[in-house]
Amino acid sequence: MSEVIVVTSGKGGVGKTTTTANIGTGLAKLGHKVVLIDTDIGLRNLDVVMGLENRIVYNLVDVVEGNCRIRQALIKDKRYDGLYLLPSAQTRDKTAVTPEQMRKLTEELREEFDYILLDCPAGIEQGFKNAIAGADRAIVVTTPEVSAIRDADRIIGLLEAEEMGRIDLIVNRIRMDMVKKKDMMSVEDVIDILSVNIIGAVPDDENIVIATNNGEPLVGTNCKAGKAYMNISRRVAGEEVEMMDLNAGNSIWDRLIALFRKN
């Protein structure tokens, strides 16, 4: 059974595109057939994060307007089997696509792919409405700060009003050192306010910046964010994965202490 998942947040800059790229790549690594769709028309950047921007010929708006077939617009990622990207248009705007057209498109893609991930733009108007039109479930991304949480709350309210099937939360860019000093909200605090099921927490990691610049999603690699995203991908696929202990450091010293703590 194919699933259409929209990754949204309300607030901009919290990590939707990064999350979409990493979960998509993670699912592909697990052997599934995945297509990533960038629905941010006019400000596309999923292609950049995936490192596929110089292979774009056709885009989402071309498909929807009938200028080309879906197959022609899809870009196959050579690094992984079964990972495709449908980029957005850079020269149009949100009015170029309607929710109805998005629904039709996702219905067509269901026949070929296991997972269809939609990278939603920031905001709550046309772009958002387009992205959620064909989706079965939503993943709401937020960072542990008041402004992002306020917007996430609003988004969850709108999703519930649209009767979205399943809503999961990802708390992104969490910094355990600040949480310990009570300078930042903890994951529990965030869940307390938003009251939705949490599907993962991703620690703030410098490697994300490097990975984005290189166009290589870091899911599955040995850094904290990489591990977190891999766990999330597995949970999306239905596996039960224990929550990573975000407090543990990576150095030998931290690992020793963790060993002692377990005993």
Binding site: D153, G157, L158, D192, S195
Partner: protein, 265 residues
């Protein structure tokens, strides 16, 4: 010698230009002389009279008019007066009269307004009395941007997240955390109250009063808890009630005493 009286005439009136300094008697004398020589011109006409350059008292005016009428035979139908002083005098008098009239009107209007307000209070008081004892239930958490309104009282089985709003003509009871906006007594009823299991509102309004959470107490509590090393969540939040007392919104822990004090009508 300068003329004390100058007469200008047209078929409808006479303009008398009188010397302002000369004694009135002299003026009359000269006027008599001049008028006698012009009787034929004005015989039995009804004219308007204008007096220039000199302010005359009422008596003087009367005397003057009599003279004119006797000697020349004209009937002075009216006196035109547009001397500067007179005009200004009349203007100021008129203004004063207008102001007094306006004041009177205002005070009447004010009175009417007060009466109207008193009368208006009745309908909502009645409506509240009818619906005041009724309440609606709302199940679910209100998320940011959502609003729930009630014509009577309302009980929320859930949380009010920051950015969400509850409005009720009556009371508001939140069986959860109140972190958003609550507006009780929305019709103007200052005796309404707001109860919440966790009272952390962004803003509470009751009737005509409103209060905001300054956040200072919250921060102080957080700092204190940091010192003690406890997680702030460990402090159990107690149910609180917000009501109007002494012209301000008071928030107190819910206790039996306060419950019995509730003056909700």
């Amino acid at each position: 010698m300068k003329q004390l009286v100058g007469i200008k005439g047209n078929p409808y009136g006479i303009t008398l230009r009188l010397n302002e300094n000369a004694p009135f008697e002299s003026i009359l004398e000269e006027l008599d002389v001049k008028l006698k020589s012009s009787t034929k011109f004005f015989r039995n006409a009804s004219v308007a009279l204008k007096i220039e350059n000199r302010m005359l008292s009422e008596e003087e005016e009367e005397i003057l008019i009599n003279h004119i009428e006797e000697i020349s035979g004209v009937q002075v139908a009216c006196i035109l007066d547009d001397s500067k002083e007179t005009t200004e005098y009349y203007q100021s008098m008129l203004q004063q009269a207008e102001e007094m009239k306006q004041e009177l009107l205002n005070s009447e209007a004010q009175q009417e307004q007060w009466d109207k307000e008193k009368v208006q209070e009745e309908p909502w008081m009645e409506a509240d009395r009818k619906e005041g004892n009724q309440g609606q239930f709302y199940k679910g958490t209100l998320r940011s941007g959502q609003v729930v309104e009630s014509e009577s009282s309302i009980i929320i089985l859930g949380d009010i997240n920051p950015g969400a709003k509850v409005v009720a003509r009556g009371n508001i009871v939140v069986l959860g955390s109140l972190k958003g906006y609550a507006f009780a007594g929305a019709g103007g009823n200052d005796t309404a109250f707001v109860v919440a299991l966790e009272m952390k509102p962004m803003q509470i309004r009751i009737g005509h009063y409103f209060g905001v959470e300054t956040g200072k107490r919250e921060r102080r509590r957080l700092l204190e808890s940091k010192k003690r090393g406890n997680h702030p969540k460990l402090f159990p939040s107690e149910p609180k009630i917000a009501f109007v007392s002494e012209e301000a919104i008071c928030i107190e822990p819910l206790s039996r005493d306060i419950m019995s004090d509730i003056r909700y009508t």
